[in-house]
Symmetry: C2
Subunit: 187 residues, 2 copies
């Protein structure tokens, strides 16, 4: 049954102190040099299988602009998978499978996403993620914790203002010291 059910997953990469970005927006802290002996390693095959399972990405406009900038050097990381960008602004499209959306989040999830996709991945946007949690529209959350205290920056959860019970689905520690916590958001 679960394989056929719709699922909207929020993903975040965070420091131990909960920051997803430094004040200067540098991202060198993502490159952990830690080594955790007991950790597991993902093979390229694992990664390919995992990415193949995602049939739509949703993101905020800043994440989109960042991905667009990176695509000039490294290519478009989301391939042919549909990307829906939440924005009220007019943003450039560069030959990708990108759609802009500026309406209500309930409509987005119930009318645009649920009838068309199975495994939707919220790839970035702290404000968007918080709204999705508050409105009970997100089903799961995956946090990758990098072994660093950043000390300052942009908090992911930043006083979301609403209590939300979680269910731990999985906890995986990797060889590079990153821990991924995978929770179901209870409704």
């Amino acid at each position: 049954m679960e394989n056929n059910a719709f699922k909207l997953t929020i993903h975040m990469v965070s420091s131990l102190d909960g920051f997803i970005a430094k004040n200067d927006n540098s991202i060198s802290w993502f490159e952990t040099v830690d080594s955790y002996e007991k950790g597991v390693t993902l093979t390229e095959q694992d990664m390919v299988e995992f990415l193949k399972s995602i049939d739509c990405y949703v993101m905020g406009s800043h994440t989109y602009e960042h991905a667009l900038k990176l695509s000039k050097s490294y290519g478009w990381v989301y391939g042919d998978v549909p990307v829906i960008v939440l924005t009220h602004r007019n943003l450039p499209v560069d030959g990708q499978n990108v759609e802009f959306y500026s309406g209500d989040l309930n409509n987005l999830v119930n009318e645009r996403l649920k009838p068309n996709y199975r495994n939707v991945w919220m790839a970035g946007g702290a404000i968007l993620a918080k709204d999705l949690i508050r409105l009970k529209l997100a089903d799961e959350i995956r946090v990758s914790i990098i072994p660093i205290i950043l000390g300052e920056g942009k908090l992911f959860f930043d006083h979301i203002g609403q209590e939300q019970t979680l269910h731990l689905k999985d906890a995986t520690a990797y060889k590079n010291g990153i821990v991924e916590l995978h929770y179901e958001i209870k409704k």
Copy 2:
């Protein structure tokens, strides 16, 4: 070698969004009702062995006052183990092995703790914990993450203002959905 080395460990219990206390100070959220099938369980013997290894507790004055209040109903949880309370205030002592300290933290660690103890546990006090990390006086940090988003309250790390590299020593997921992350603080 490591068994003979001095170690100061910071322990915190936190929600996924990094809060250690709610604004109303209620602690019912500690009682998780989650169930994680793959998780491990600690036996009473494990707990006893673990607690026996701690030879000194250090805490802030609010944690001490809270423990003192709880002790009226449940007894003094730290037993005969020395407890050092960091405070400038005159606080009551109730027949326990408690000492007050109001001096410099470098002196506390290097002159009071190191010559006398091996395994010191920082049992509470967000401001104290931050100062110990900033001054590079803490050796390890253990975070127990409860499967809940609190949404508001008192942040543990709260913009510590200094970057600190960590090394993942262990990651343990328990049957009750709590995940304990154990890091070495790199110096």
